[in-house]
């Protein structure tokens, strides 16, 4: 294989693996802040138990997010040095600001959150939790700004030395797709967390329907599905309307539209193939494609044939990744409505079918996030910066053997880390909040390293 393909594979693998953890910890940090705030306000012990329980899972996930994130700040240079040099005058400062305004804040106060329980008062501890939560959101602002610049670049010019140069920081950072993509990502993170919390709570309730903390947490999670999932659909639809204007070839790939025409059909399933510049088969609903993408069943929507073959993104991946994301999103809305109805009818824990469904949907948020990012990034191809720089022109002068070696290293190490991390998180989830809190020895502070440790064998 060529170095460029290997570098793309490596970047896709390392970033997809990395995004799992920030998606979870952005939501979880906010959830922890809410739990600790409610605990301080109401003094209800259930909130404290939930906080301690989810803090442990947060610590595990955050650690994995940090170490896989360090990789990203070097990989731009190791594998995409031509891109880095070219785009650094615009994106460089955004990444530097992410470190300066978010990473130090998160990493410093995470220490207070985890190990500072008895060294600071409850007010200061709550402040630390809030600062970590705010840090995760600030981090999302900068990274979405940088990525959105690559999707819808603005506020720049081509400099005399062949690099980009920023002409307006406001325009470059708050570029056209930034607002809706930021909202989409944060809502996605909240859904990821809500689904994980819901699944862990439902799992406990399947064994013991009266477990108080899990009943509380399941209701909080259902509230999130019921409100956030429909909101996410609206934000996604709004973003899609902009993609039609800003990145028409991406939209055409998402819907597998080949011909530019009015009254496009909506393809529920299809097998799009770039070789024949068409769909090998599809199951479609007439006119609905134009209605969904343009808000008007009679609207003309651009198809992929309007672009030269070398300017078309890989259609199959984008089409199906989008359907996975939206399909799961609709399932989340369904779960939210079902759960809300059950709460109204006297308690979701009484329906074992619902509890099983909630467990089954636990990983759905993660899958949807990876699918969504696949749509965004693969749909942008063949450009690394939309209509400014091609991916093929961005790669470092490193040989295929070196990239093969590092890719193999990432596959092996990430497999080990993922297996162990998932094992430890699932083990905690299976024990549940009550078991955790009661097993805590009185002389060990919750959140302390020794508080986590099993007794020495």
């Amino acid at each position: 294989m060529e170095a460029i393909l290997l570098s793309r594979l490596q970047f896709a693998f390392t970033i997809a693996f990395h995004i799992i953890f920030p998606s979870f910890t952005i939501g979880l940090a906010s959830y922890l802040a809410v739990l600790e705030g409610l605990w301080l306000a109401t003094k209800r012990e259930a909130f404290q138990r939930l906080y301690v329980f989810w803090l442990k899972i947060f610590a595990l996930s955050f650690g994995m997010g940090v170490v896989t994130g360090v990789v990203m700040s070097y990989e731009f240079g190791t594998n995409w040095s031509v891109f880095s040099r070219f785009v650094a005058p615009v994106i460089g400062p955004m990444l530097a600001f992410e470190v300066l305004t978010a990473f130090f804040l998160e990493s410093s106060f995470l220490g207070v959150m985890l190990w500072g329980w008895k060294r600071v008062g409850p007010g200061l501890h709550f402040t630390a939790t809030c600062l970590v939560a705010i840090g995760t959101l600030i981090s999302a602002v900068w990274i979405i700004a940088a990525n959105s610049f690559m999707q819808t670049p603005a506020g720049f010019a081509l400099g005399p030395d062949g690099r980009l140069v920023a002409t307006s920081w406001i325009a470059a950072i708050f570029n056209p797709s930034f607002p809706e993509r930021f909202a989409h990502m944060v809502l996605a993170a909240y859904l990821v967390t809500a689904l994980a919390v819901g699944a862990a709570s439902a799992f406990i309730l399947l064994k013991n329907r009266d477990q108080a903390e899990s009943r509380l947490a399941l209701r909080m999670a259902i509230g999130m599905f019921a409100v956030i999932a429909p909101l996410q659909l609206l934000v996604g639809d709004y973003a899609g309307k902009h993609i039609r204007a800003d990145q028409p070839s991406k939209l055409a790939a998402i819907e597998a539209f080949w011909d530019t025409k009015a009254r496009q059909a909506f393809h529920i399933v299809a097998w799009p193939d770039r070789k024949i510049a068409g769909n090998r088969f599809d199951v479609s609903i007439p006119k609905l494609g134009s209605l969904i993408t343009a808000g008007d069943a009679n609207a003309t929507v651009t198809g992929l044939k309007a672009f030269a073959p070398e300017d078309r993104p890989p259609v199959f991946i984008v089409f199906w990744a989008f359907r996975v994301m939206v399909g799961l999103g609709l399932a989340m809305i369904g779960l939210g409505l079902w759960g809300a109805w059950l709460i109204f009818r006297g308690g979701p824990e009484r329906s074992r079918l619902f509890l099983r469904a909630a467990v089954l949907m636990g990983p759905a948020g993660f899958v949807a996030v990876i699918a969504g990012w696949t749509v965004a990034e693969v749909g942008r191809q063949p450009w690394v910066i939309w209509r400014v720089m091609r991916t093929a022109a961005a790669v470092s002068p490193v040989g295929a053997h070196q990239v093969s070696a590092s890719l193999l290293g990432f596959l092996v190490v990430y497999a080990i880390v993922f297996a162990a991390g998932v094992l430890y998180i699932l083990r905690l989830m299976a024990q549940g909040p009550a078991a955790q809190a009661l097993a805590e020895p009185a002389d060990r502070a919750p959140g302390s390293p020794m508080g986590f440790a099993p007794p020495e064998p």
Binding site: V70, G92, G111, G409, P449, M450
Partner: protein
């Protein structure tokens, strides 16, 4: 920002970030390097507790070093990253294994805990060694054509870089051992003292070897230090002699600290030794940012980007240093005596 020498300010910022990274992550990597020497699982838990609240913040300086180089000197970032592709990837993988070990060790049962204990030690040693290889490859010079890396994948693999790698591992072990002297008492403190003694001997030997070898890596380095063609030019050498003298002061602090039974002085001495080594290497190639052909000015980002980032640095850095200091102050004191209370 008119009238300010932005590239010069930026190079100071990068230099300070890298120095702070080396000093801070140095001590927690060092504790990992010393992990195999611990007498008991209990001692290893204490060693972990002595760095657990800090390691994440410390490693963030590495992200600032990488991200900062990207933002401030993309010309250097785009050359150095491909040039040191393999050792950098090795460093990142090693840092992943040791980074997750902080949490995973607490959740693993018997076999899992042993696995992550090994991963923490091996990852710390591996990351330090890989950083030393990058350092050696960097000081020896990078082949550049038209602003891009033009060398081979193993240009960094030389006896000199092996020497710097060993030197850095020993140096981090010294920082780790002296840090443990501050944070522990009783049995583990005695061990840390002995480790400090052994590490300081290794550091003196390797630092001397690296210093002499550095004079040989490029004639321009020897000329910097006033050593050309067998003659000694005191106008170049004399001012630079302050740097090895500073190293001597650091070593003296360590020795005096050990003799007097001080818990804090050896760590302070180790910091001074590192500072001297850092300045010694820096003065050998500055103002090059990619030795020896690319100066920091030609590698700098556009004036607009530099100004924007530096405004952020001026606003944020005091805050960052402030709450970093707060965290160190909050977790002050011995870990042995109050392991149960935090």
């Amino acid at each position: 920002m008119n009238g300010l020498d932005l590239p010069l300010i930026a190079v100071v910022v990068i230099a300070v970030a890298v120095l702070l990274y080396v000093l801070l992550d140095g001590f927690d990597l060092g504790v990992g390097i010393l992990f195999p020497l611990a007498r008991s699982p209990g001692d290893r838990d204490l060693m972990m507790t002595a760095i657990a609240p800090y390691w994440d913040g410390n490693e963030t300086w590495l992200v600032l070093g990488g991200g900062g180089l990207f933002a401030l000197f993309p010309g250097a970032y785009a050359i150095l990253m491909p040039a040191f592709y393999l050792p950098l990837m090795g460093m990142l993988l090693a840092l992943i294994l040791r980074g997750v070990a902080f949490e995973f060790r607490l959740h693993g049962r018997r076999r899992g805990k042993r696995l992550w204990t090994i991963a923490f030690a091996a990852g710390s040693i591996g990351a330090a060694f890989a950083q030393g290889l990058v350092l050696g490859g960097f000081v020896q010079g990078v082949k550049v054509t038209n602003g891009a890396f033009a060398g081979g994948p193993f240009d960094w693999a030389t006896p000199y870089s092996l020497l710097t790698a060993l030197g850095l591992v020993a140096g981090y072990a010294l920082l780790g051992a002296t840090w443990l002297m501050i944070k522990t008492d009783e049995g583990l403190h005695g061990d840390a003292r002995r480790w400090t003694g052994a590490a300081v001997v290794a550091v003196v030997a390797l630092l001397a070897a690296v210093s002499l070898a550095t004079l040989g890596v490029d004639p321009r380095v020897a000329a910097r230090w006033g050593l050309t063609g067998g003659a000694i030019d005191m106008t170049h050498l004399a001012p630079r002699l302050a740097i090895p003298a500073l190293g001597g002061v650091g070593l003296a602090l360590i020795f005096v600290g050990l003799r007097r039974g001080s818990h804090v002085l050896p760590f302070a001495g180790a910091l001074v030794v590192f500072l001297s080594g850092y300045l010694g290497l820096g003065t050998s190639f500055f103002p090059a940012i990619v030795p020896y052909d690319v100066g920091f000015r030609e590698a700098a980002n556009t004036p607009g980007a530099l100004a924007f980032v530096l405004i952020g640095v001026v606003v944020m850095l005091p805050l960052i240093l402030g709450y970093t200091a707060f965290v160190y102050w909050l977790f002050r004191g011995k870990v042995a005596s109050d392991a149960g209370s935090h």
